[in-house]
């Protein structure tokens, strides 16, 4: 087991190196002079030269990549072109709202999607099943900001139950924090819920046909116990895998959701950085999210042994 974890972590290192190389070389893949691209259309030649100097773009590619990688390994993502602050501290300032949003969405998704999928599989072919699957297909087709605006319009503007926009830090109390995050997490969770509900249903349908489920019924186990204890546990591996893959949806969706609900998180930071062509910030955010995504999927791989003791490495 320990050797498997070690090997799995070692495999992650080259993948992360490729991500780093790709994120770094994006500047060179793009057509034109990178310094001029960052400077934008209205820049004077002196500005372009200043940016070239500050980013070290006048040095050879491999030298630049080497020194950049070395700095990253020391948690130094460079300085923002626009504010001149270190990118790491900018990310640290903005990370709380984004993490809150993502964790709350994840919790909401698990609480809603898994039971939905289980019920759909249990009542397969019935009206409930069709309704759940119809919901899943529609939710999967609705872009995050469409759901966001719809929810904000109904629950914040018309009914005035919840605040329209903004964010309150967790330190200022759980309820104000939660109040601001409910609508964004429901909006962000929609696609994710649809995805997990579908995979839960598919995986459960397969498991429910197994002999041991019939044995369980024959010996008089309750329906709830069969579904949620005996069947769900054996259906869990594909579900957990998709939860891990779906984190990519969560990350991409967070960028948009934060714009819709004016949450000052990493998504806002990314959007602002794009509009200002603040490339070090974009690089930093993309790297950080990719690292997070890889880490989540590493954890997913490691949980397989907990779910299914038959899996041995």
């Amino acid at each position: 087991m320990a050797s498997y974890i070690l090997r799995r972590i070692l495999v992650t290192i080259p993948v992360m190196a490729i991500v780093a190389l790709f994120v770094f070389s994006l500047l060179y893949i793009a057509p034109g002079d990178p310094a001029a691209v960052i400077a934008g259309d209205q820049a004077s030649p002196a500005d372009v030269e200043r940016i070239r100097q500050s980013l070290g773009l006048d040095r050879p590619f491999l030298v630049q990549f080497g020194s950049w990688l070395w700095r990253i390994l020391h948690f130094d993502l460079g300085n923002s072109i626009f504010t001149n602050l270190p990118v790491t501290s900018m990310i640290a300032q903005r990370i709380e709202p984004t993490l809150s949003l993502m964790l709350l969405t994840l919790a909401l998704t698990l609480v809603v999607a898994v039971p939905l999928g289980v019920v759909a599989a249990w009542k397969a072919g019935s009206l409930i099943d069709r309704a759940i699957m119809a919901f899943a297909v529609s939710a999967f087709s609705l872009p995050v900001f469409v759901v966001g605006y719809l929810l904000a319009y109904v629950f914040a503007l018309e009914l005035e139950w919840l605040p329209v926009q903004g964010y309150t830090p967790f330190a200022e109390g759980v309820w104000p924090w939660l109040q601001n995050l409910i609508l964004p997490s429901v909006a962000l969770g929609c696609v994710y819920i649809a995805l997990i509900a579908r995979i839960t249903r598919a995986s459960m349908l397969e498991v429910l046909q197994q002999d041991y489920i019939r044995t369980g019924r024959a010996k008089g186990l309750g329906q709830g116990s069969i579904l949620f204890v005996h069947a769900l546990k054996n259906a869990a591996v594909p579900i957990v895998t998709v939860i891990g893959i779906g984190v990519a949806l969560l990350i991409g969706g967070a960028v948009v959701t934060e714009s819709v609900f004016a949450i000052p998180g990493l998504g806002r930071l990314t959007v602002d950085a794009i509009l200002r062509r603040d490339y070090p910030v974009i690089q930093g955010v993309v790297l950080m999210f990719s690292f997070l995504y890889t880490l989540v999927n590493l954890m997913v791989d490691l949980t397989y042994t907990l779910i299914d003791p038959r899996i041995r490495y």
């Binding site: 490729i18 500047l27 872009p143 900001f145 329209v164 598919a202 960028v255 993309v286 999210f289 990719s290």
Partner: protein
């Protein structure tokens, strides 16, 4: 040769022809042709019909829109929907109806182009890494790396570097979609090359390119077609997200994402500016997803009705 029970055959005296036995199994009615396929797969039919309408709207947009979608008219700013301005007007007095119709073109163009480009490129990469062993490791590590960047972020990073244009949006989303497609193709190819008929072809001395084109490629088409529809749906969503956050098509082109981005500042008082493009986008994506789900059920009966 057939056994006839009609009266034309003389029946010997004293014998009676038995009545035809009822069918043990109800014969499966085989429906053929495009119409038959659509009747068997109502999801494809509904999604396809919706999509066809939208394609027609896109093609005939210049004849359907009432005024030039980019014409600014400060005198008639933010009018609510009325007989004259079906979807109202935006903050610059542009007709939202005309703009939304034009947006259909942008979305469908981006969706289709990305689906075609990503499928072809992914197919090529997947075939190579499925067949050329030494390339497999390298290519798949690169794809693993690309796949660990969430697709929307990858597209954002690419767009941040280039000028906003429809072509660049298509390229950025295509790059973000390629890893998933090539992984899928590689998986299919790896399972196909273990098939006895491929072994037979190898034993007959068929050259590798011929095996790929004649035996492997046709068998990857069904899963590729399904994947292409999902890529198309996802590309349309990503395009609108990119435009919405200001990293997509230039603001001069009325794409759905751009219309929503412009309506964002006013949405609490004038929700219709955001509502109409949002509704069109959702219906279009839903139509494409329905076609994809239906095709998957039709082309892969083992997966049918499960997912």
């Amino acid at each position: 040769m057939s056994i006839s029970t009609t009266n034309s055959v003389p029946v010997p005296p004293g014998l009676v022809i038995a009545q035809a036995l009822p069918d043990l199994m109800v014969p499966v009615k085989v429906r053929r042709g495009v119409l038959g396929f659509l009747r068997n797969n109502p999801t494809v039919a509904i999604g396809g019909a919706l999509l066809l309408c939208l394609v027609l709207v896109g093609i005939f947009a210049p004849y359907l829109w009432t005024v030039d979608p980019t014409a600014i008219s400060p005198a008639r700013r933010t009018r609510p929907p009325s007989e004259l301005y079906w979807f109202g007007t935006d903050a610059l007095g542009r007709d939202v109806y005309s703009r939304v119709l034009f947006g259909t073109r942008v979305s469908l163009t981006v969706g289709l182009s990305v689906a075609v480009l990503a499928t072809i490129t992914g197919l090529a990469i997947g075939l190579v890494s499925g067949f050329v062993r030494w390339a497999d490791g390298v290519v798949m590590r690169i794809m693993d790396g690309l796949m660990s960047i969430p697709p929307i972020l990858l597209a954002i990073a690419l767009m941040a570097l280039t000028r906003g244009s429809v072509g660049n949006v298509i390229m950025a989303i295509t790059v973000a979609e390629i890893p998933r497609v090539s992984r899928l193709v590689r998986g299919v190819v790896l399972s196909l090359r273990e098939q006895p008929y491929v072994d037979a072809a190898v034993a007959c001395g068929t050259r590798t390119p011929m095996i790929i084109f004649r035996h492997i490629l046709p068998n990857t088409l069904a899963p590729m077609l399904v994947q292409a529809t999902y890529v198309c749906a996802s590309a349309m969503i990503v395009e609108s997200i990119l435009s919405f956050i200001g990293a997509g098509t230039p603001p001069t082109i009325p794409s759905w994402g751009n219309i929503m981005a412009e309506g964002r500042a006013l949405w609490q008082v004038k929700p219709y500016i955001v509502f109409f493009p949002a509704a069109f986008l959702s219906v279009t994506v839903l139509a494409v997803n329905l076609v994809g789900d239906g095709l998957r059920d039709a082309l892969d009966p083992r997966m049918a009705k499960n997912l």
